[in-house]
């Protein structure tokens, strides 16, 4: 089970003087269980890619295949099925809130999807539990009384309640503080552990590297780099050329290697990086 993109091209305002190619011949395979970070400069095609994946935009060329189904030729009335399978959390989801209470906001899509009352309640409870909002104390709360972090988590819950197999997130932690961000990433990490395939568009690789196992960098509508987490230090210079800064610990091992030192640069976490550095400088290990 996977998402496949085959030579996908999307052009905005095609045939007008303002035409702009947002995606150009993009081919990608995203495996079940992956947690993929999508990066790139403004206008590189990140948000367009998400919209194409959940059928909001139909590519002019190429095919998008989700679990064996070609969604580019899916008739309009079958789209609801796709959107349940592939959930998309927009940037600043709280800006689209319209219901008076947390419960009504999260249950709206479930009612539309035709679930029974009992099932709706079960799913709202479950989704609120997943995002760490206590059901009893939050369900009747007005959305206006929530903190920005809580609002963002309600936004996530509205999509998680549909139990998507694929979860797409556009800048899920934009403008949140440290705690708010950590909570959102913990929720995403948990969803991924339960088997949900996750695709996140974000600008800060330092943060993405804490959840993702794969990083794709877009440049002018094409895939410029497609890297596993442990390859970031190896491609540090190529990344910087694309305007992306590798996480601090990847930069450290990369720069040590550039000094001609024999260091393991295939590291994922900060802890692994620290381990590699300590091997290089044994006096650090002994604590002197």
């Amino acid at each position: 089970m996977s998402i496949l993109l085959e030579k996908v091209t999307y052009v905005y305002q095609s045939g007008t003087p303002w035409q702009k190619t947002a995606l150009c011949d993009v081919s990608l395979a995203i495996k079940k269980g992956d947690c993929v970070g999508i990066m790139g400069r403004a206008g590189a095609g990140k948000s367009t890619l998400l919209a194409v994946l959940n059928g909001l935009l139909k590519p002019q060329k190429g095919r998008v295949i989700v679990d064996g189904i070609d969604v580019t030729s899916l008739p309009a009335h079958k789209m609801a099925f796709l959107r349940q399978k592939v959930g998309l959390v927009f940037q600043f989801p709280e800006e689209q809130f319209f219901a008076p209470t947390v419960y009504e906001e999260i249950s709206f899509a479930l009612h539309n999807a035709g679930f029974t009352r009992g099932e709706v309640e079960r799913r709202v409870k479950d989704a609120m539990d997943k995002v760490g909002l206590d059901y009893a104390s939050f369900k009747e709360r007005s959305l206006y009384t929530l903190s920005s972090g809580e609002k963002r988590r309600v936004g996530l819950a509205t999509v998680l309640a549909l139990k998507p197999q694929y979860l797409l997130l556009d800048e899920p932690t934009a403008a949140l503080d440290y705690e708010g961000r950590e909570k959102i990433y913990a929720i995403i990490r948990e969803a991924n552990k339960r088997g949900t395939t996750v695709i996140i568009v974000a600008h800060n690789l330092e943060h993405l590297a804490n959840v993702c196992n794969r990083i794709i960098i877009l440049e002018e509508g094409r895939v410029a780099l497609d890297l596993q987490l442990e390859e970031l230090a190896l491609y540090a210079e190529e990344m910087e050329r694309l305007g992306i800064y590798p996480p601090f610990h990847h930069q450290v091992v990369h720069k040590l290697q550039k000094k001609g030192l024999d260091i393991n640069i295939y590291i994922k976490t900060r802890e692994e990086a620290a381990c590699a550095v300590k091997k290089l400088f044994p006096s650090l290990q002994e604590g002197e």
Binding site: F248, K255, E271, A274
Partner: protein, 276 residues
């Protein structure tokens, strides 16, 4: 000088204090960072510097003028500029130079003076070549610089920056940070920089931490920036440099970093451990 004297604020009479008994001074030319997690009262504090919010108790003086004195309000607002997080919330005109001219025009300055101020301000933020552009076609960082130019055209002595980069992408963040630091260095405008990103304020002379309704002031911040626990407790993400130093168990005998970059860490490591 801006003086906060035993300032407290609450939004309603029976509400909890957002903060209370806050006192500090800011001199012309200072670069002061203010950090705190969401809900700690940072933006409330930001709005007290120029009288957008008035203290519930205590007082705020700007060059000796009380922000509560209605007759001095416009003088105070001219001296203390406020830059908000979202560039789109503070741009009013459809052409860059018109937007920058909006403030000076409202001061009733003559057109030659306005022209000069607009040109100077756009030069400071390095946006001269965009002066005829419509703002909506600019990137986030460029728009934020235009908004900043609009404030600089009023020739403020103090700039209050309320999370000036939180809505920008990394490239935009970097350019806004660089420009603001340059303005502080070269024009002597004081920066009161509110953020939850420590990286932006590593060059500040002081950092004030808003936590549970009170404000603590720290100097010697290069040393403090290495202490991850202090920041974590205040709900602020510690610098990557500090986290890495901690994981490596590095002694404080290493030289204090000045920019906290990976490059600096690597240089320090090599210099100190190669010799042995």
């Amino acid at each position: 000088m801006i003086e906060f004297i035993d300032v407290g604020y609450r939004y309603a009479e029976n509400a909890e204090w957002v903060f209370n008994k806050v006192s500090f001074n800011i001199e012309k030319g200072d670069f002061v960072g203010i950090v705190g997690k969401n809900g700690s009262g940072k933006s409330t504090l930001a709005r007290m510097f120029n009288g957008l919010l008035l203290p519930t108790c205590g007082k705020v003086l700007v060059d000796g003028w009380d922000t509560r004195s209605a007759s001095r309000l416009y003088d105070i607002r001219r001296k203390v500029g406020l830059l908000l997080p979202h560039p789109d919330h503070q741009i009013v005109a459809s052409v860059v130079e018109d937007d920058v001219a909006f403030g000076p025009a409202n001061l009733g300055l003559d057109s030659r003076e306005i022209r000069q101020r607009v040109d100077e301000a756009l030069k400071l933020v390095e946006m001269e070549e965009f002066k005829k552009h419509p703002p909506y076609l600019l990137s986030g960082g460029q728009k934020q610089r235009v908004a900043l130019a609009g404030i600089l055209a009023l020739k403020p002595d103090y700039l209050v920056l309320d999370e000036p980069t939180s809505m920008l992408e990394p490239a935009g963040q970097k350019e806004v940070v660089r420009i603001l630091q340059k303005i502080n260095r070269e024009s002597g405008v004081a920066l009161i920089w509110i953020t939850h990103n420590l990286e932006e304020i590593i060059h500040a002379e002081r950092i004030m931490v808003l936590q549970e309704g009170s404000l603590n002031e720290y100097r010697n911040i290069k040393l403090l920036l290495l202490k991850t626990e202090l920041w974590q407790k205040a709900g602020i993400e510690p610098l990557s440099y500090a986290c890495m130093t901690e994981l490596l168990g590095l002694k404080e005998s290493l030289p204090l970093p000045s920019d906290f970059t990976a490059e600096e860490m690597v240089d320090n490591l090599c210099r100190y451990y190669w010799k042995r």
